[in-house]
Structures are given as structure tokens and as C-alpha cells.
Amino acid sequence: MLKRLRENKSAQGTLLILPTLVFMVGLLIIPLLLTLVVSFGQRSPDGNVIYSFSFNNYVRLLGYGTDCSSGASACFDPLYAQIMWGSLVLGFNTTVLVILLAYPLAYFIARAHPKRRNTYLFLVLIPLWTNFVIRVYAWMMLLRQEGVINIVLGWFAGLLHIPFTPLNMLYTPGAVLVGMVYEFLPFMILPIYTSLEKIDNSLYEAAADLGANSIRTLLRVTLPLSMPGVVAGTILVFIPVMGTFIVSDILGGRQVILVGNLIQRQFLDARDPTFGSAVSLILMILTLIVTYFYTRKFGFGEEIVVA
């Protein structure tokens, strides 16, 4: 039997992939299918799942409720659609801001002397690997009423003899946006750097020889050639932003509710896993659709591997 295995290349390959498939099927594909099944179920009074086949959770997600406060038999409240839309908008805003901040830095590193590039990259990796929760905490210290930003502003105001009342920054949508940008910035810098670094210097020289000024070079050479990095970075930023609940939890207080918070609350506070599963599936489909169209338009670079 061992001899037969030795000659059968296909069987060897299957054997090597088998442990991976055990994990992927058991803890990824089966859970996703189970989420689908549970999303059609109903919540039992003690927060368990009653398996059935109803679209109730999806109808509820669209905003049509059956337990209305006014006593009517059916009512419409687009709360969940608003949360979805709000998350999409935040995902979009975060991604745009992150691209604007990441691009110059990535460009700087890619055009730096090769000997120094690793040091500059190293400086990007440190904040990236500092724990996610710790990074949110750092912003809490900066933004709160007695926080560092208010202290500094107050000090400047004192110098200029301007009356100063500390700004309310924590627990606002702005705080969540800043937190998200901070959390995901390194995920954009790395892929953009990778694609910029590949651009041959002679292309810049050619552009200059042909009389292009720096803006024209940027628009016609640099930007188009770095698109794969921007695409990969967008995927690495947009998808997690949609599903993150810590940033909005800590920096947004109860003011900002994103899809991630909605799902988390269904599983922990509200104890309705069936509705939580439905929301989670919709979130997955939403991100897959956005990713699909985005990558079909711009291509799916290998840059994603780097980060």
C-alpha cells in the first residue's frame, strides 16, 4: 500500500491537504452553513434556537416588525437598514481617508534609499502589531474630556488668553471614524508600498524625459501602476471595518451602532442567535458583493498576501 502511495501523486497531494480540509470544513464551512440554517429558525423564550423554515428574521431585518409598541399588528421601522447603511458609509469614509493618509507614506518608503526602506517599514509594523484593543484604549486616553488633546488645546488657549471649554470628542461618530482610520491605516500602507516598490525607476525617468511634470507623472504613471495595491488595501480595510464592534463600543459609547454591534448584541445581550445569524449572513453577502465588483473592476492583486 505504501508503494502504491509513492507512485500516486494525486493521493500524496490529497493526504497533505487533508488536515487543512478537516479544519476548513469543520470550523469554517459547517459553521457558515449552520449560520444559514439557524437564520431561518426562531428564537425560543430562553434564547435557544427552534429549527424551522421561516423568513421572519429577514423580514424583521428589512424593517417590518410584528411586535409593535403602538399595539398594531404590523409596523415599519427601518432601524436595521439604517444600521447597515451607516456601516457601509463608515466603511467607505474610513477607506477613503485611509487611502489619502497611506499613499504619501507608502510612496515615501518606496522611493527611499533601499537601505532605509526596511527601517521605515518596521516603523509601520510596530503600531500594526500593537494589540487592537490597546490601540482603541490609546484613543480613549487622547479623546476624552480630560484627555491629552483637550489638555494641549487648553494649554494653547491659555497662551493666547482665549477662554476654553474642553471639547466633547469621545462617544461621537467622529471618534469612531478616527479610531477606525487609526486601526486600519497600516493595512493600506503595506500593499500600496508593495505595488509602488515594483515600479521601475526608468518609467519615472521616461516620463520626465518626455516632458511630464510631477502631477502628470503621478496621474499617468504612479497611480495606475499602484492600483493593485490600493485594491488589496481596500479589501483589507473595508471588510474588517464592516464587522468590527470594539471601536464603536469603546469610542462610540452607545451613540454609534454598527452591524458588528448589532450581531454581537443578538448573541450576548438580546440572546436571539437566529436574528444575529441572519444579520451576519447579510453582512457576509454584502461584503462579498462589494469585494466582487470592486475586484472585477480593478483586478485582484497578489499584494493582499503581503500584509
Binding site: 490529497t14 497533505l16 491537504i17 449552520l34 507614506l105 510596530i126 503600531p127 490597546i134
Partner: protein, 295 residues
Amino acid sequence: MNPFRRSPFVLTATMLVYAFLYLPIIVLVLYSFNASRTNVVFTGFIPKFADKVLSDGSNVVQSPCGPFHWFCELAKNTDVTSAAKNTLTIAFIATVVSTVVGTMAALALQRFNFKLKPFSQLSLYIPIVIPEIVMGIGILTLFSQLFGFLNNVLNLNGDARLTLGLGTVIVSHITFMIPFVTLVVQARLQGFEKAYEEAAMDLGANEWITFQRITFPMILPGVLSGALLAFTLSLDDFVITFFTNGPGSTTLPIYVYGLLRRIITPQVNALSTVWITIVFLAVLMLQLIQNREQK
């Protein structure tokens, strides 16, 4: 034309972005030396080393550890030490398993053809393109349904009941880490020709010897950086751990998150400072491995 020429705009923007990346971290570290117990305002360093901890109002004025008072308190905090132990146990086991499994997968995908290849490739991409929370609640649902069923059928009671814990966190971590290890090792395998392996085989080496003497030494840097990446991913993970941990398997990120919703003392900052220092050393190691690889 100087190829390393920089426009003033790029230079300014770069410095601002680096400042944006580092200011929060610097503040975090500074506050871990704060004399103030409430940690709202930085009231200065703890000035004196002394036998006993002495406070003046809300400020600590002397401590056996001096300015490092909060680090000593941290070491005494059993919640923190047990969370640290859990975090490292999970990261260590999950890294070893996912590195072995992921490297095998990379070899299979890069060197062999088999029926399940397209399916395997697709399944390895899923964890990268779906939000982590979707995977987290999927695994939570699986375990809670499965354990509920088994506890019922096998009539398990009390301590014998199956619950979420270290085991569930470890297998979940392994699952989300495998794709990353596979990607890194695959990239390494792509980098060198199959010809080396074929030459070894032509010279009479069997598959195992070829793997031992040729393939493994060549992919080792890739395997090591894959393992280090997996280790950092595990240490850093919050979402998957949040949904799969149970009593007694709290990790450091989960512990910190719990604190942030209640009271905050400079201990949290001290913990962050220790964490940042460890990360700094780990990333430095990764860089050194990669630098050696490039030479």
C-alpha cells in the same frame, strides 16, 4: 535626476502620518508611569523608591518599584498573569499546529495536482474575505449547538459538561491562522524552481530525503515567517476569541476589553507598555529573519 528625490509635500505628509501612528502609543506608554491612581490626568512620575507604597490623595508618592510601580502591581495581579498564561498557551499550540498543517497545504497546492485542489484553494480564501465576526459567531453557534446536543444525549452534568474554553479557542485560532501560513509558505515555494527537487530525485534520493535535504531547508525561512505571523495573529486576535472563549480561558485582549468598560488604572497602560515592548522585539526578529533571507 536623483531617484530618491522627495517633494516637500510627500515629506510633510509622511512625517504627519508617522506622528499620527506614534502619538497615541507614546501617550499610552507615558501614562503607565503616572503617579495618579485614577489615571485621568498625568500628574508626574512616582518620585521615590521606598519599602512601602505611600499615597498622597490620589497620587502615589513612593513605591518599592519607584516609577515602575504599576508594572509591579501588574505582576501581582493574578487575573493578568492567568490571562497572559492563557494567551501564550493558545498562541503557542495554535502556532505549532497551524504551521505544520499550513505548510503541508502549501506543499500540496504548489507541488501536486489532485481532485480537491480548487475546493481547497477556495476554502483557504474564505477567512480572508469574510468579516471575522461572521466566522466567530459561526463557530460559536456550532459549539453551542453541538455541546448542547452532546450534553443532553450523554447526560453530562456539572463539571463534565462540555463548555467553551481553551480547547475551543485553540481550534478556532488554528482555523483562521492556516490560510495565512499557507499563503506565506506558498509564496516561498513559488520562488524556487522545482528543478532542484527533480535533480535530487534523478540522483537517487527518494521523496523523503529530497524533502529533508532540499525542499525543507529552502522553505524554512518562509515557514519561520509564517509561524511568526501566525503567532502574532493569535496574540492579537480579539473577535474570534471573544466568541469562542469560556470561563477560565480569558486572554489578555479580552481582559483589557473588559477593563475598558469599567475602571481604568495605570495598570492597563503598564500592560500595554509590556505588550508594545514584546511586539517590538517580535517584529525586530521577523525583520532580521527576512533580512538574512534576502542576503
